[in-house]
């Protein structure tokens, strides 16, 4: 290799010595949409982690005078000219003369500029120390309902941020558990074959031919009523994963059946490697990327599952706040027609699911060594 071309070749040399994961990372970075989606996912998890700081109010703060208040708009231009920091007008509620419904109007005389690191409801930051600073807020007397309020006068933005905590992690734990089940059961089924394989395949068939809603309902109804909401939440993730592992087990089994016949596997057998070693050392690395992809693609399914079931009243219930629980308020048309902002949690669900799907797609392309 000549001196003059070293710089040019540096990249190429890297390519030959790069590990499988480095190659994948490189390919993934080229997939613009997937990278942006990945950032979205990270942003969602970050906002879930710091939800008590980011949200303007506390989770259960009720504003009795502002029930079903519509979203407040942020303004830049006020009666006194352009503001550097956006502000909201105060809102006042009154009874509609005919329908007697409460309607809200902006009170243009009251201007509340947005305050950063404003004082509000105290909370424990990450469980470490007590503080009452919120990322955004307004001065006393003003209100900041950027996404409106619900039937109890609670700020919807706050509740959505807190709901992300539950909705986004339900899937994680569920996927982790179904990963463990699916991988080990699928591997055993594929490698040992014979009657074990037959038995496991029948078991999967039975589980899959079971309609999921009855299974879900019965299992969640069977959770003891004395359990705390947190325990029920955990129980439900276990239930989700109990239904979720069969797909992964099938994929793993299929892959093992195919890889078992490869020459290098035969070579390992001839050299006297134990079954466990062949499986863990030689066969598993052959399809780790597939597993990562199917896990990413399983996450949105779990988020949708939680949302749908909570919406139906079968999953989580208040006082737990998840996106599905928030959507319960939007269950009938009248409520949606009068208060369309109650549907905003669904926007978050769609964005999260889309982002996960795109990341999964990007990973799949990146993991495919024969990709175009």
């Amino acid at each position: 290799m000549s001196e003059s071309t070293t710089t040019e070749h540096a990249d190429g040399d890297d390519l030959y010595t790069a590990s499988q994961w480095q190659l994948m990372a490189r390919k993934f970075a080229k997939h613009r949409l997937a990278v942006w989606s990945g950032l979205t996912v990270i942003a969602l998890y970050m906002s879930a982690l710091f939800c008590d700081f980011l949200s303007p109010y506390g989770l259960e703060d009720q504003h009795i005078d502002y029930i079903y208040a519509p979203p407040q708009r942020l303004h830049w231009i006020g009666p006194d000219g352009v503001h550097l920091v956006p502000f909201v007008y105060g809102i006042k509620g009154m009874r509609h003369p005919e329908t007697l419904r409460k309607v809200y109007a902006e009170d243009r005389t009251q201007v509340y500029p947005l305050r950063f690191f404003a004082r509000g409801t105290p909370y424990r930051f990450l469980g470490l120390f007590e503080t009452d600073r919120h990322f955004i807020g307004v001065d006393r007397g003003g209100t900041l309902f950027l996404l409106g309020t619900d039937s109890l006068g609670r700020d919807l933005l706050t509740r959505i941020l807190y709901g992300a905590r539950i909705s986004l992690t339900v899937g994680l734990i569920g996927v982790a558990l179904s990963f463990v089940f699916g991988l080990s059961i699928g591997a055993v089924s594929g490698y040992y074959g014979g009657w074990i394989d037959n038995l496991i395949q029948r078991l999967i068939e039975i589980l899959r031919s079971f309609p999921s809603i009855p299974l879900w309902m019965a299992l969640s109804a069977a959770l003891p009523s004395t359990w705390s909401p947190l325990q029920i939440y955990f129980g439900i993730t276990v239930v989700l994963s109990f239904l979720g592992w069969t797909g992964l087990a099938r994929v793993v089994r299929g892959k093992i059946l195919a890889l078992r016949e490869e020459d290098y596997a035969t070579a390992a057998v001839l050299m006297g490697a134990s079954k466990r070693r062949i499986m863990g050392r030689h066969l598993l690395p052959g399809f780790t990327s597939h597993i990562v992809v199917s896990l990413t693609l399983a996450l949105p399914g779990m988020i949708l599952g939680e949302t749908s079931l909570s919406f139906l009243g079968l999953g989580l219930r208040s006082p737990i706040t998840s996106w599905g629980v928030l959507l319960q308020e939007a269950q009938n048309v009248q409520a949606v027609a009068m208060q369309p902002w109650l549907l905003t949690p669904a926007v978050f669900v769609v964005v999260a699911v889309l982002a996960f799907n795109f990341v999964g797609d990007g990973l799949r392309d990146a993991a495919d060594p024969y990709g175009r």
Binding site: E205, R208, S209, P214, L215, A330, V333, V349, L354, N357
Partner: protein
């Protein structure tokens, strides 16, 4: 091939038996039974329940017997071959004045799905009156899905990375990411706020109880499209992805190039070979359509207030109406098993590669 089908049919027996056991266990799993929840519901409204009446009901429905006896009786009733129940309530023998008169031998009989507690009617009747509309919705949805997804999938694969492909991909992803019930809510919201009509249900109010007529049929068609779009969207989106991916895998293969080199017109070539191969996954999932007929659209049906079997199942499960719920769960699983078998047979028939693999 026949050998394979027979083997699969034999395997169905233990599978179904296991499913029946799990169904029954699941329905029994939540604490209490229909009567206890019924009594609590009555007491909440302030009514009191006579002790003797409760006892009589418990006796009548065998609610106090051990689990396995209850399961055995239920299973026996479901099967087309088994013991018939005598007037005295016993399955095994017949009483007369002098004591046991004769033993009862198993024989062929009609399956008996039992009574629904809540509706106080035969389970068969309850399912029967809802199944027709459910089947109509499911089949129309399936046709809608295929009619849309297959051409779009083919187009997206053949014109990969074209503007149309991107547009359909974005639409498809959004369709996949939107929960069904949300779509239903949005449709109802638009119907309510723009057209001032309620989009729920399958009939206008004046036709709900009416006899079948041309006008009622037209009314059904006019209402049908909303549930069909709502239920079909995510399936369509998924199918487009599958179709596109499969076809993209097939197109660069050598047989396609060979056929093209031999001068086959692009269209004939496309439809005759790669599309046929790419359709395989559609056929292997056709089996899931059957159970979907009964349960697939529960959530949408609840939101839209459709008179289908889904909400019936949901209510039955919530109220622990065990014979209704049990029969429906059993029916669903049965349909899935049959459906999987059907799609396997279809695959064997359509795809020679699988057929020969089976022989080897």
């Amino acid at each position: 091939m026949i050998h394979l089908i027979l083997k699969r049919l034999l395997w169905m027996m233990p599978t179904l038996l296991a499913i029946s056991f799990i169904s029954f266990a699941l329905i029994q799993l939540p604490p209490g039974d229909y009567l206890t929840s019924y009594i609590t519901a009555l007491e909440e409204t302030g009514e009191s329940v006579a002790e003797e009446q409760v006892e009589a009901l418990r006796q009548r429905y065998n609610l106090d017997e051990p689990f396995f006896i209850q399961y055995g009786k239920w299973l026996n009733n479901l099967l087309p071959f088994g013991f018939t129940r005598q007037d005295s309530g016993s399955y095994l023998w017949m009483y007369s004045e002098g004591g046991v008169r004769s033993f009862n031998w198993p024989g062929f009989k009609w399956p008996d799905f039992g009574m629904s507690f809540e509706w106080n009617r035969q389970v068969v009747e309850l399912i029967g009156e809802r199944i027709f509309l459910t089947v109509v919705i499911s089949i129309v949805t399936l046709l809608f899905t295929w009619a849309l997804a297959i051409p779009i999938g083919i187009y997206s694969a053949v014109r990969q990375y074209s503007i149309g492909d991107y547009a359909f991909s974005v639409l498809g992803f959004i369709g996949l990411a939107t929960p069904n019930f949300l779509l239903a809510l949005i449709f109802m919201y638009i119907g309510y706020s723009v057209f001032g009509v309620s989009a729920g249900g399958l009939f206008s109010p004046e036709y709900v109880e009416a006899e079948w007529s041309v006008a009622k049929f037209a009314d059904l068609i006019a209402h049908l499209w909303i549930p069909v779009i709502v239920i079909g969207t995510s399936g369509t989106a998924g199918l487009i992805r599958v179709m596109r991916g499969n076809l993209l895998d097939e197109l660069p293969k050598q047989y396609v190039m060979t056929a093209r080199a031999k001068g086959l017109s692009p269209w004939t070539l496309l439809v005759r070979y790669p599309v046929r191969v790419a359709l395989n996954p559609l056929i292997s999932t056709i089996g899931w359509v059957l159970p979907g007929i009964v349960s697939g659209s529960v959530i949408v049906a609840v939101v839209l207030g459709l008179p289908t079997t889904g909400p019936l199942l949901l209510r039955a499960l919530q109220n622990q109406d065990m014979y209704l719920a049990g029969s429906m769960v059993m029916l669903l699983s049965f349909l899935t098993v049959i459906g999987t078998l059907l799609s396997d047979i279809l695959l064997l028939w359509l795809d020679p590669r699988i057929r020969y693999e089976g022989k080897a």
